[in-house]
């Protein structure tokens, strides 16, 4: 086992890793940028190394300084957390060549899964269902394009190969729109990305995002830890995650988790990873991508399985066997996570600033992962997530009630947060029935605007909160 680990991250995930290390008796090294010297992860660690200025490209993503920091402090392993360098194959490779254990999969696995086309091809070859689509780039031949369109089926989406951010994308509902859409997407892509290469994929407007947690050791053991439903999202930003998914039957769950194990085995996966699926309304599911890191929403899985994923990541990276087999994994109750962001709940504009008073919720079945504290200044340079509130209860209804109660307790004075939005969602009948898709939040916000335009009062009264503390105002 390692004696010292460097945590190459900040915020709540750095604290999460440090906590696991402490419980394993491993010393910790925090890294930070110049503006993060007073950050909680730094205060919790045994040692700290400033690795660069505020700009994360020069600090939290500064490979040279981070590897040097591990070298000068004598850390034997680096935990990358999520974001920053977590899925940077080059970083993992440099760690390996410097004799520092990267706590995650092998760098060749990261590289393979990081390339969407390669990942899709590997999964298709292994028999994991992938989204039906054209075999690579569409040819410059109208007849062929029409033929491919018929094979893929409608509605379909034409996507720019070099694309992203919605540009060069066209949804096509029938064959008569196909050629126009392909030409438009080509033009848009050429203008935006300098390449008119486009491909097509079947389009699922009412799909859910369901993912399966897997973990594997270096001895050939691969175990799944059930699914998480992350369909409540805005612009691919997840807001609420829960496990089990309200949309999975026993049969579909068995097939999806089995497909995840196949996916992990097909790339010789090691350590913790997540296989993301699109779940269509007819319950067919398709591989989207594999995330080769620990994820923000991992506590949801920890709550329903009672396992410590970070601890297991560290053990596995040290060469130990998984401490459980598939038979040992039991799922109990229902868990929900709400991501609390420092942002305006109406406009979604980031709201950095000083948290004049921080009070986390508590009580049975409530877990808070956060790097916040009273008088902490949420810096504008980094991610806006200030806390994750996770609850566990026997049933989904009880979990919703518990989350509502917890979010009525939380105090984050001084900044705007997404707490009011979460409380409204938790009260929404559509969410309560569990009948949501990835378009849910958009619909929810439209319904809300409609209500407000009609002059209806918001359904929820302001949460009760402890009396304001005058001393909290000062510095």
């Amino acid at each position: 086992m390692f004696t010292k680990i460097l945590v190459a991250n900040r915020g709540e995930i750095a604290i999460r890793v440090i906590r696991a290390c402490k419980e394993l008796g491993i010393r910790t090294v925090a890294i930070c940028s110049e503006i993060d010297r007073d950050a909680l992860h730094v205060l919790f660690a045994d040692e700290r190394v400033v690795v660069g200025p505020a700009d994360n490209a020069l600090s939290y993503r500064n490979i040279l300084n981070i590897v040097s920091a591990a070298a000068v402090t004598g850390a034997e392993a680096i935990h990358p957390g999520y974001g920053f360098l977590a899925e940077n194959a080059r970083f993992a490779e440099i760690c390996e060549s410097c004799g520092i254990k990267f706590i995650g999969p092998h760098h060749t696995t990261i590289a393979k899964m990081g390339d969407k086309a390669t990942a899709k091809a590997i999964m298709a070859a292994a028999g994991v269902p992938v989204i039906p689509g054209s075999q690579g780039i569409l040819p410059d031949d109208d007849e062929q394009v029409v033929k491919t369109g018929d094979q893929v089926g409608f509605p379909l989406m034409v996507k720019a190969s070099a694309g992203g951010g919605g540009r060069g994308m066209r949804v096509v509902h029938g064959p008569e729109q196909l050629l126009d859409a392909v030409n438009a997407a080509r033009k848009e892509s050429a203008a935006a990305f300098g390449s008119d290469a486009v491909y097509m994929e079947r389009y699922f407007p009412d799909a859910r995002h369901v993912e399966v947690q897997v973990i594997a050791d270096h001895h050939g053991n691969v175990v799944h830890l059930g699914e998480r439903d992350c369909s409540v999202q805005r612009r691919n930003q997840k807001l609420i995650e829960e496990s089990p998914s309200p949309a999975l039957s026993k049969t579909i769950r068995a097939r999806m988790t089995e497909a995840s194990l196949t996916a992990a085995r097909s790339v010789g996966y090691r350590n913790a990873g997540t296989v993301e699926f699109l779940l269509a309304p007819n319950k067919a599911f398709y591989f989207i991508e594999m995330n080769t890191r620990i994820q923000v929403e991992h506590p949801v899985t920890e709550m329903v399985t009672g396992l410590d994923l970070i601890r297991e990541q560290i053990r596995v990276a040290a060469g130990e066997r998984l401490s459980f087999t598939q038979r040992d994994v039991h799922f109990r109750g229902h868990a929900i996570e709400c991501r609390i962001n420092a942002e305006d709940p109406k406009t979604f504009m980031p709201s950095p600033g000083i948290i004049a008073w921080y009070h986390p919720p508590g009580g049975p079945g409530v877990r808070v992962d956060s790097a916040a504290y009273t008088n902490y200044a949420v810096p504008p340079q980094y991610d806006s997530m200030v806390a994750k509130v996770i609850v566990h209860a026997d049933t989904r209804d009880e979990a919703i009630a518990r989350m509502t109660r917890a979010l009525e307790e939380i105090v984050l004075d001084g900044i705007k947060t997404s707490v009011p939005l979460h409380l409204e969602i938790l009260e929404d009948p559509v969410f309560r029935r569990g009948k949501y898709t990835t378009r849910y939040l958009e619909d929810f916000l439209a319904r809300k605007r409609g209500r407000e335009a009609a002059g209806d009062r918001p359904p929820r009264k302001a949460a009760k909160r402890p009396p304001a503390r005058s001393a909290a105002k000062g510095g």
Binding site: N9, G83, P352, P380, D383
Partner: protein, 155 residues
């Protein structure tokens, strides 16, 4: 002098213990001054992190918000050479060689004053100032952080 250079100047100032820096180039003169006390108002939204998500935790911004101005108290007067990287501090080019400089020695701008070793690479650190070494702030062989003061130079 373009915006990039001015931004670099601000970033540089932040990495040092100085209160201000002034650069003259032809007939253009730019002076960047550190604010003594940061205002308590939140940063303007334009330079704040957009909800970036776990895929990209940071936003690669160089935003000089009200909170990132931390003024390291300069222990004494003088100009400080700060480490540009994380690594191990060495005063001499090799164990059997004499130190680059001793306390009291005069230094020229651009003169190598020490080494910070990172990843087996010996990075020669040059003095950015002309003057005299008044203090060597790190012991030979000690690890150093980014921005850590290494030496004080007085004119």
């Amino acid at each position: 002098m373009d915006l990039k250079q001015i931004k670099d100047l601000i970033a540089y100032l932040e990495s040092t213990a100085f209160a201000e820096v002034e650069v003259e180039q032809g007939d253009v003169r730019v002076r960047v001054v550190r604010q003594a006390k940061a205002p308590a108002a939140p940063a303007p939204a334009a330079q704040t992190a957009s909800a970036a998500g776990e895929g990209s935790q940071g936003v690669g911004s160089q935003g000089v918000g009200p909170y990132d101005v931390r003024i390291p108290e300069a222990p004494e007067a003088g100009r400080v050479i700060a480490s540009p990287i994380v690594g191990t501090f060495y005063r001499a080019p090799a164990p059997d060689k004499p130190s680059y400089v001793e306390t009291g020695a005069p230094v020229k701008k651009g003169q190598v004053v020490c080494i910070v070793e990172a990843m087996k690479l010996m990075n020669e650190i040059e003095s950015e100032f002309e003057g005299r070494v008044t203090a060597i702030l790190v012991n030979d062989g000690d690890p150093v952080e980014f921005g850590q003061p290494l030496m004080r130079i007085e004119p």
